[in-house]
């Protein structure tokens, strides 16, 4: 396990390097003078001079990158001229919103997707199975942000049951969670369906049935346990999409999360915030994949020796 973890770290390090380099280069590749971009909408000569000094913008690029990394390790992501706040503090208040939406939505996707997959996989080809396959193929085709809008139309505009936007109460989280849950359920349902169907076709399951184990007993004891491992792996691979989905939904439901912060920053040319948010989201995706791989290696020893 230690060797496996070590090899995985060797993959993670260059990935982190690439992401930090990408975030660093955003400011340098954008058209215009980096100091001017970082100074925001009202640059003054003294401000530009201060920023040039702080980020060492007159130094050679590799040296600037090293300074950028050093600042990063001190938790300094720069200062947003637009918001008049350090970028790190903006992100500290936005990230929990994105994580709450993404986390809740994923739990809901699992709670909806797994039972649907089990129900379909127990009797492939049945009416119920066909119905569930149809549901999953429709839910993956509907764009996530439009699904959010549809939920607002149904539950806020027409029925008036839930608030259409905003952040702060539990009721305001339900529609974003539901949107992410419905959008994500298909992949878990399909995975579960195929796993269950495959396991149930094995001889040892037929033996268990012949010995008198009940149908739900075989599903639970044999099929379900085997299907959980690939779900863990899938979950890790999905983290990026969950974050991206949460980012998009924040603009549907006007949530003060990372997506809202990042998109507003791009539209306002607030480059320190763009840089900081891209960096944090990028590192989150990489770390989540890393943790999922380790967890997968832990529950499934054979993967460690590949």
């Amino acid at each position: 396990m230690a060797g496996f973890a070590f090899r995985r770290v060797l993959v993670l390090l260059p990935e982190l390097f690439a992401v930090s380099l990408g975030a660093f280069l955003i400011v340098h590749l954008a058209p215009g003078n980096p100091a001017l971009l970082l100074a925001g909408l009202h640059p003054t000569p003294s401000l530009i001079a201060a920023i040039t000094r702080e980020w060492g913008l007159n130094l050679p690029l590799p040296e600037q990158y090293v300074r950028f990394l050093l600042q990063l390790f001190h938790g300094n992501l720069g200062y947003s001229m637009m918001e008049q706040r350090p970028v790190a503090s903006l992100i500290a208040s936005a990230l929990p919103v994105t994580l709450t939406i993404g986390g809740g939505g994923t739990v809901l996707a699992l709670l909806l997707g797994i039972p649907l997959g089990v129900a379909a996989g127990r009797r492939t080809g049945s009416f119920l199975d066909r119905l569930i396959v149809l549901i999953t193929s429709v839910t993956v085709s509907v764009p996530l942000f439009w699904l959010g809008i549809l939920l607002v139309l149904a539950f806020s505009v027409r029925l008036g049951w839930l608030p259409s936007a905003g952040w702060g109460s539990f009721r305001q989280m339900i529609l974003p969670w539901l949107a992410l849950g419905i959008n994500g359920l298909a992949i878990f349902a399909r995975m579960m369906r195929n796993q269950i169907a495959e396991v149930l076709a094995n001889d040892y399951v037929r033996t268990a049935r012949a010995k008198g184990v009940s149908s739900s007993g075989t599903v639970w004891r044999h099929a379900f346990r085997n299907a959980v491992i690939p779900i863990i792996a899938l979950l890790g691979l999905r983290v990026g999409y969950i974050i991206a989905g949460s980012v998009v939904l924040e603009l549907v439901f006007l949530l003060p999360g990372m997506g809202q912060l990042m998109v507003q920053a791009i539209l306002n040319s607030d480059y320190t915030v763009v840089q900081g948010t891209m960096l944090v989201l990028g590192i989150s995706v990489l770390l989540a994949n890393f943790i999922a791989d380790l967890a997968y290696g832990w529950v499934n020893p054979s993967i460690r020796y590949q």
Binding site: P14, E15, A18, V19, G22, L25, I26, L29, A30, P31, T124, V133, S141, V142, P143, L144, F145, W146, I149, L150, V152, L153, V157, S164, G240, Y241, I243, A244, V247, V248, L251, V252, G259, M262, V263, I266, L267, Y271, V274, M278, L281, G282, V285, L286, N289
Partner: protein, 287 residues
């Protein structure tokens, strides 16, 4: 015997169902492309003819899908919007497939450091969802349709590079390629005459599904305000604008979403059907 007959029957109905799906998907894609190309004929007034006297009108015989906040014909904007989707979808996929395909062949043929480098870059890009990559690139390039195309193509090339690279590696060991090497054919001649024709089918399958992904990504970018800018009619942008009027004019929040969903389903189905034609071993058991 009976089992075999049933099996054959199943395969035959499966064949018909697949043929029907292919035809339906093709018909819908053709309709989408035709509408996009014929938009200037169907709605000669363009997509930006404003009439503030009749803004936010519900669907009627004159405006089958109602009017938006500027009194513009929603149907005209949907049809003109097909042009934007078509343009972004096709150009982004073509660019991504060409660039990725080229790098994939280079990585597969030359191997060594070149291969390691190309594969590593492709892997890192591949571990991020397209929409996050695209947002990052638009941050550099500034919002707009051209930026959206470049951003989406940038997120797309790794999948083509990976598929083409692994096919190239496999083909390189085959007799006909070794024969070409033996008679002294150059690397480029081998790439163009022997490798490319053999990986084209896979690229076409990927590209069809890719158009669906690209259209979805572009609509999402425009919804975020980072893609096509007003007054250009873009399905994602139209949904974003419609959100302000969700109480007065809920119909504006429906039509563009239906359009995106149908086009995405059609290109995905087309991809599945093409996979049957080009890569029969990939045929799904579910049929």
């Amino acid at each position: 015997m009976l089992q075999h007959a049933q099996q054959a029957e199943k395969v035959r109905t499966g064949w018909w169902r697949r043929r029907l799906r292919l035809l339906l998907a093709l018909a819908f894609v053709a309709l989408f492309v035709a509408l996009a190309l014929l938009a200037p004929l169907l709605f000669a007034h363009g997509y930006n003819q404003q009439n503030l006297m009749s803004s936010l009108m519900p669907p009627s015989s004159g405006n089958p899908l109602g009017t938006d906040e500027f009194g513009r014909n929603e149907l005209a904007r949907i049809v003109w919007g097909a042009q934007v989707s078509l343009e972004v979808g096709f150009i982004a996929v073509l660019a991504g497939a060409a660039f990725g395909g080229l790098l994939g062949i280079v990585a597969g043929l030359f191997g060594g450091v070149v291969d390691t480098l190309i594969s590593a870059v492709a892997d890192v890009i591949w571990s991020f969802p397209i929409i996050l990559l695209a947002i990052g690139l638009v941050a550099i390039l500034r919002p707009g349709v051209e930026s959206a195309i470049v951003a989406i193509a940038f997120g797309f090339w790794p999948q083509y590079a990976r598929v083409v690279r692994s096919s190239t590696l496999e083909l390189r060991g085959r007799n006909f390629v070794e024969a070409a090497v033996a008679v002294g054919a150059s690397q480029w001649r081998i790439a163009l005459r022997h490798i490319l024709p053999n990986v084209l089918g896979q690229i076409v399958v990927l590209a069809s599904v890719g158009v669906a992904d690209a259209i979805l990504a572009e609509a999402t970018l425009s919804f975020l305000g980072l893609g096509a800018q007003p007054p250009l009619p873009d399905w994602g942008g139209m949904l974003s604008a419609a959100q302000t009027y969700v109480l007065q004019a809920p119909w504006l929040s429906l039509a563009p979403g239906v359009a995106i969903t149908l086009v995405v389903i059609a290109f995905n189905e087309l991809g599945e059907a093409l996979a049957d034609v080009f890569a029969p071993q990939r045929r799904s058991l579910a049929g």
